[in-house]
């Protein structure tokens, strides 16, 4: 295990070191101490390493991640795991706005709550939130899965494309073109797997599914907002 003191060694050195790890690295486990809300921690990684951040992070932690597992032992600021390609990001605490924004792949697990715009423009990422999510989540969500064990705020899934949304609690309101959809066996299977990956105790049968009514896909004046 390698220990990196962010306060003493600085962000540039941290990211340079972590980004230099290759697929066959034997330096697989890293501890980052004293993050103290710094921005852009462990961004642009591309190796199957595990990075444990001991404390809370600022903006864009694990941004554009590939392959790595980044584990935030605290809360995370805005844009955590934004545009992630693959790998896993786990936030023990809460996550601020835009968690998992535009993510293309990989898994983002938030053990606490996520703020507004969680999964905005998501493009294939799986996001599993143990708590609640804020308003405008999954705005223009293109693909991937968003699982919410708690409640969802206003305008869930506004202008959504093909992403699947699963919410256990209440949904304050649905956004434009987002509707509740039938939970078919394939969805239950998918959700069961997602819940297991996210370490959630909840049962798939307790969730409702939401997705696109596909009425905004081609312009029709009668469907315009």
């Amino acid at each position: 295990m390698h220990i990196f003191d962010l306060e003493a060694q600085g962000l540039r050195a941290l990211n340079t070191t972590l980004q230099a790890q290759k697929n066959d690295t034997n330096q697989t486990v890293w501890e980052v101490l004293n993050p103290k809300g710094s921005h852009a921690i462990a961004v642009g990684l591309d190796a199957p390493i595990e990075v444990n951040v001991r404390g809370s992070t600022g903006y864009y932690c694990a941004g554009m991640n590939k392959q790595a597992t980044v584990h935030v032992h605290g809360s995370a600021g805005p844009g955590t795991a934004e545009n992630m390609m693959s790998g896993t990001v786990i936030v023990e605490g809460d996550a601020s706005q835009y968690a998992g924004a535009t993510g293309n792949g990989g898994t983002l697990i938030i053990k606490g709550n996520a703020s507004s715009r969680c999964g905005i423009s998501m493009k294939g990422i799986d996001i599993i939130v143990h708590g609640n999510i804020g308003h405008m989540s999954a705005f223009m969500a293109q693909s991937g899965n968003l699982v919410v064990c708690g409640d969802a705020g206003d305008a869930l899934g506004d202008s959504i494309y093909e992403a699947r949304l699963f919410v256990r609690g209440s949904v304050k309101s649905l956004g434009a073109d987002c509707i509740e959809k039938e939970m078919r066996p394939e969805h239950l299977n998918l959700l069961t797997d997602l819940l297991a990956r996210g370490g959630c105790a909840a049962k798939a049968s307790e969730f409702r599914r939401y997705g696109s009514a596909r009425k905004l896909y081609n312009f029709n004046i009668d469907n315009a907002y």
């Binding site: 962000l11 540039r12 990211n15 340079t16 980004q19 921005h39 852009a40 961004v43 642009g44 591309d46 600022g58 903006y59 864009y60 941004g63 554009m64 590939k66 805005p78 844009g79 934004e82 545009n83 390609m85 706005q97 835009y98 924004a101 535009t102 293309n104 715009r117 905005i120 423009s121 493009k123 294939g124 705005f139 223009m140 293109q142 693909s143 202008s159 494309y161 093909e162 896909y217 081609n218 312009f219 004046i221």
Partner: protein
């Protein structure tokens, strides 16, 4: 008036200057369809432009340089502020970001080939980076757009610079559009969206709002790319003084400023014609912002929107820009709107020069299309040759003017080399009206 039996003269029919035949036709079209007009290209209305400025040339107090013989440098270095690897271009005319999807793969290749021959850069656009462009463009600027279509860290690292798009001159405040006709499998795949749907790219970035966030976003992009790449911020000509100030504050290496005449692949006509300021009105304000921050020439300024010739390039540089970008003109150089396709333009209900339904994907010139048959009409090698020729001519023209003004480098052109033909141009460009030493709003004058 009724018939006068005595045969007195009648009033002649008078067309309204307000309700022109074009206006009336648009009202009828709207009434019939219920949808606004979508089109490509830039503002077609006449606005104060570079044609309203002239160079003074040399005189007893200004010593000219010999055309062709005496050196007049044209190179420009972009990204000197923070980037480890600034970009050095042989000429100050760059190719603006035009999306793959809007343009065909061969068109992107042609742009890359032409720009590389001429020693300049091309820019990706919405929809991501293509092999056609990366493979043929020696210097490629990778756009970071609100949609983030195709965005990924590998392409980010193989780009030569990153351009964060906040706005476009044709539609400041508007997102992109790519209509279903052009969403082929390849385009759909790159954007991660179903085939055949009308795509609307977001108008705001998903994970930052305001200049303070933007500063952190730039930090992230620099951290991902080892602080190597120049970071450009592209803004539409909305509030150039403030937007330039905020872009610099957020950490831009380069500001790209696009005026309202700037082209677009597809947007509502009402947006193109009614939102944003002409580029002529924007350049001096952006330069003033840079000067107020002590950043003029430290943060480079690229301007665009209706640039057509070396004279336009020279005027932009005299107003304080470091380089320009061209979109529409580059497409015309490749063959867009060429009268040789007139019969086909007619069949589409239009005529060469006016064709702007680029979103429909039926471009006879094979440039703004994803249709394999039409696409094959553009030979990327020949297209690249034509673009290179055109870029060379623009450069020669700009040099001709610079030499006449006694400048041994294009970037030595200055506002004092210019006069304005109209009050409007004088006011917007802060250049004295021809025959006077005055422009409206000149400090120390009362009107």
């Amino acid at each position: 008036m009724k018939d006068d039996p005595a045969g007195a003269p009648r009033t002649v029919p008078v067309q309204s200057a307000t309700f022109t035949s074009q206006v009336n036709a648009e009202i009828r079209r709207a009434a019939a369809t219920g949808i606004y007009d979508i089109r490509g290209g830039g503002a077609k209305r006449k606005v104060p432009h570079f044609d309203d400025l002239l160079f003074l040339g040399a005189s007893i107090s200004r010593y000219p340089l010999e055309g062709y013989r005496e050196k007049c440098e044209t190179s420009v270095t972009l990204g000197t502020r923070f980037a480890k690897n600034p970009i050095k271009l042989a000429i100050p005319v760059t190719i603006a970001g035009m999306s793959f999807g809007a343009l065909s793969g061969p068109a992107k290749e042609a742009l890359g080939r032409g720009a590389t021959l001429a020693g300049t850069s091309t820019t990706t656009g919405d929809g991501g980076m293509t092999e056609e462009e990366r493979g043929h463009s020696k210097t490629l600027v990778y756009q970071y757009l609100p949609s983030r279509y195709g965005m990924n860290p590998d392409d980010l690292r193989r780009a030569d610079a990153i351009e964060i798009v906040v706005g476009q001159g044709a539609k400041p405040g508007g997102g992109g559009m790519l209509l279903g006709q052009k969403i082929t499998d390849r385009v759909a795949n790159m954007r991660n969206l179903p085939k055949g749907i009308d795509q609307r790219s977001a108008c705001r970035h998903p994970d930052w709002t305001g200049p303070d966030d933007l500063e952190i976003k730039i930090l992230e992009l620099r951290e991902i790319t080892n602080w190597e790449k120049p970071i450009y911020i592209k803004i539409g000509g909305a509030r150039p003084y403030f937007d330039t100030t905020l872009a610099v504050k957020a950490g831009a290496d380069v500001v790209v400023l696009d005026g309202m005449q700037g082209g677009t692949a597809a947007t509502q006509d009402v947006f193109i014609e009614n939102v944003g300021q002409p580029i002529l009105a924007c350049i001096r304000e952006a330069v003033r912002a840079l000067e107020d921050l002590g950043m003029h020439r430290e943060v480079q300024l690229i301007v665009s929107g209706g640039i057509r010739s070396g004279a336009d390039v020279a005027k932009c540089m005299a107003l304080g820009a470091d380089a320009v970008a061209i979109g529409t003109a580059a497409l015309i150089a490749l063959g867009d709107n060429d009268p040789k396709w007139e019969a086909e333009y007619n069949a589409l209900g239009t005529t060469a020069g006016a064709y702007d339904d680029w979103h429909e994907g039926r471009d006879p010139a094979g440039i703004t299309t994803q249709d394999p048959d039409l696409m094959s009409r553009l030979d990327p090698i020949e297209g690249g040759r034509r673009l290179n020729n055109y870029l060379k001519v623009m450069t020669l023209e700009a040099q001709t003017i610079a030499r006449a003004c006694g400048k041994n480098h294009l970037h030595n052109l200055e506002p004092e080399d210019l006069c304005a033909l109209t009050m409007e141009a004088a006011a917007m460009a802060k250049i004295p009206l021809a025959g006077t030493d005055w422009y409206p709003g000149k400090p120390g004058t009362s009107y």
